[in-house]
């Protein structure tokens, strides 16, 4: 009985996923379509007269951009964790005065549209000399993830039982030691979740890349796509092919990491 119910659910799940991913399928479809067939009506569901020229272009030209995106993504993850984890720990466990106000400000910080941030950063970056550099872009991309990260860590670490903390204190551990040796390992799920969000957000960021790294030597994939968006001419099969190629490694990452992804936002049992 359970087995049959499970199969029905799996089928329903597959159908739902197929509906959700239909636009992604369409993207793959376009990536194989010839230039002349782009606006054919009715549109072919399957690229019968397909072409690989989009993919050839991508493999020839886009790999450096993908590499740069990867470096930026990892850098953003590290930097975000570095800033958000301690802050979350403090807000959750150390009860600083004015902590509530800080949480509120972090919430507010996410309300500022990206373009405003980017324009504001331009002047700062120019004077700091980090315009058109990778560290600068990593810094900028982290602003997308840090407030959310603090929120996530605060909620998660709030769920760690205080007895564990007090036991550590009894043994003579200070705040930092408690944080590094006890709280962080217990927050593994939160670390993975925040890392995932930070990576994804930095991977698909365009506005910061364009404003702050437009002239840089190494640029992320979102700028790489613009190679195919010329002044008057756009190569859509190459654009979609780039997106497909860019999505494959991150999709794999997602499937592998999903076991740990648990965005528990309330204090609940910390299941290990």
């Amino acid at each position: 009985m359970t087995a049959r119910r499970s199969v029905t659910k799996t089928l329903i799940g597959l159908v739902l996923t197929a509906i959700m991913l239909f636009p992604v399928y369409w993207m793959v479809n376009v990536s194989f379509t010839q230039a002349g067939d782009m606006r054919k009506s009715p549109p072919p569901l399957f690229p019968v007269n397909g072409t690989l020229e989009g993919y050839r272009a991508v493999l020839d030209q886009q790999l450096p951009y993908l590499g740069t995106s990867l470096v930026i993504g990892l850098g953003t993850v590290l930097f975000t964790l570095l800033i958000a984890a301690p802050a979350g720990y403090s807000l959750a466990k150390l009860r600083p005065r004015g902590g509530g106000a800080l949480s509120f400000i972090l919430l507010m910080a996410q309300m500022i549209p990206g373009i405003i941030m980017a324009i504001g950063f331009y002047a700062i970056y120019l004077s700091l000399g980090v315009l058109n550099t990778l560290p600068g872009l990593i810094l900028a991309d982290s602003t997308i993830a840090v407030p959310f990260g603090v929120l996530m860590f605060t909620a998660f670490m709030g769920g760690i039982p205080n007895e564990i903390m007090q036991a550590a204190r009894v043994d003579g551990a200070g705040s930092i030691r408690t944080f590094i040796s006890i709280v962080l390992p217990l927050s593994r799920n939160a670390v993975v979740t925040v890392s995932l969000f930070a990576f994804l957000w930095s991977w698909s960021d365009f506005i910061f890349a364009s404003t702050l790294d437009g002239g840089g030597g190494r640029q992320p994939i979102t700028i790489g796509i613009y190679r195919y968006i010329g002044n008057n001419n756009q190569e859509w099969n190459s654009i979609m092919a780039t997106a497909v190629v860019a999505s494959v490694p991150t999709a794999l990452l997602l499937v592998l990491a999903q076991r740990y992804v648990s965005a528990g936002v309330t204090s609940g049992a910390v299941k290990d």
Binding site: R5, L94, P113, I115, A123, A243, K271
Partner: protein, 328 residues
């Protein structure tokens, strides 16, 4: 557990006064306050990076934006400096602009409808995937794929699918005998089209966060309910939903904040058109500042400040709601 009086080295849980403050000696009281103060130092020590980060990277751009909105910036004064201060004049211009009413109503509609559907669908999917059937974990991960795509690609894909003449959606409608709809070019449908695309993009976030919330609910409660003979719907209505309330609140708030900012999707799909039919504050602000050959930074900045104000109000409502929840 050590008592404050018995073991002066044990730091009592912050905020709780221990057992009997009146019994503390002056020395112990001084040590207690000292410990609390040292606790504050440690706490703020961990917060220093994030605070500096906030000031440098959020406060400064915000200040520049307010400055942009409060001065009369022409292209010349933007480049050379020396724009005169005009106070709230830009805001006045914006509010009296004929587009204001439509942009406001579109923003509210866009955000409201998107949120309702994103949340409901996200919740339904989270509950569905929580049942741990075969492949549920993989499928759940696959649901996050829309998130990986750069917005220009997702938005363009939706534009292609919704094209009046060569789009697959209209082709499908023709097959089942329904008249094709001008999704992106009709003033009646443009807003609906961008809302649909936005819902699609927002489902993964809701799914992940709500699923996490579901995981935090102890299964014991469900077992107890099963023993009492509760049906699946009853379990959801009386256990899951109430217990999810804090998570739901934060999901809705974050969703609201993110959706208010959305502009790429609308800009790429319809440019806010035709006319103003899919213009929201975010796209209007962008159009003023960057959408024509002659940038109007002042009005553009004012519109985005109004947007931030709207988000702020919602944030305050949330805080009051949270306060009430904690007191109840």
């Amino acid at each position: 557990m050590s008592q404050t009086q018995a073991d002066p080295l044990a730091v009592p849980h912050q905020g709780d006064e221990g057992t009997d403050p009146g019994v503390l000696t002056r020395g112990e009281r001084r040590r207690l306050t000292g410990r609390r103060r040292s606790g504050q130092w440690a706490a703020w020590g961990f917060l220093v990076p994030v605070t500096l980060y906030l000031v440098a990277f959020y406060a400064y751009p915000l200040y520049r934006n307010v400055d942009l909105s409060a001065r009369n910036y022409t292209v010349r004064s933007f480049v050379q400096g020396g724009a005169e201060f005009i106070g709230l004049d830009n805001y006045q211009t914006v509010i009296h602009d004929p587009t204001f009413a439509k942009a406001l109503s579109n923003t509210i509609l866009f955000t409201g409808v998107s949120l309702i559907f994103q949340f409901t669908i996200g919740l339904a999917l989270a509950v569905f995937f929580y049942q741990n059937f075969r492949l549920s974990a993989t499928l759940r991960a696959l649901f996050l794929v829309p998130w990986l795509l750069p917005l220009i690609v997702s938005a363009s894909t939706w534009s292609w699918m919704l094209n009046s003449d060569s789009g697959v959606v209209n082709a499908g409608l023709r097959v089942i005998g329904v008249d094709p709809v001008n999704w992106l070019t009709s003033p009646h449908w443009a807003l609906a089209s961008v809302i649909i695309a936005n819902i699609w993009i927002g489902i993964p976030f809701n799914l992940v966060v709500l699923y996490g919330g579901l995981q935090a609910i102890s299964t014991d409660i469900y077992e107890a309910a099963s023993l009492d003979g509760a049906s699946a719907w009853q379990k959801f209505r009386w256990i899951t939903f109430p217990l999810l309330r804090p998570v739901s609140a934060i999901t809705v708030l974050l969703g609201l904040v993110y959706t208010l900012k959305v502009f790429d999707i609308i800009w790429i799909m319809t440019k806010g058109g035709p006319g103003d039919s899919s213009t929201t504050f975010a796209t209007w602000s962008y159009r003023k500042s960057f959408g024509s050959l002659l940038p109007q930074f002042g009005p553009g900045a004012s519109i985005s400040n109004l947007l931030i104000l709207m988000a702020l109000v919602c944030g305050l409502v949330y805080v009051r709601y949270q306060g009430k929840q904690q007191n109840s």
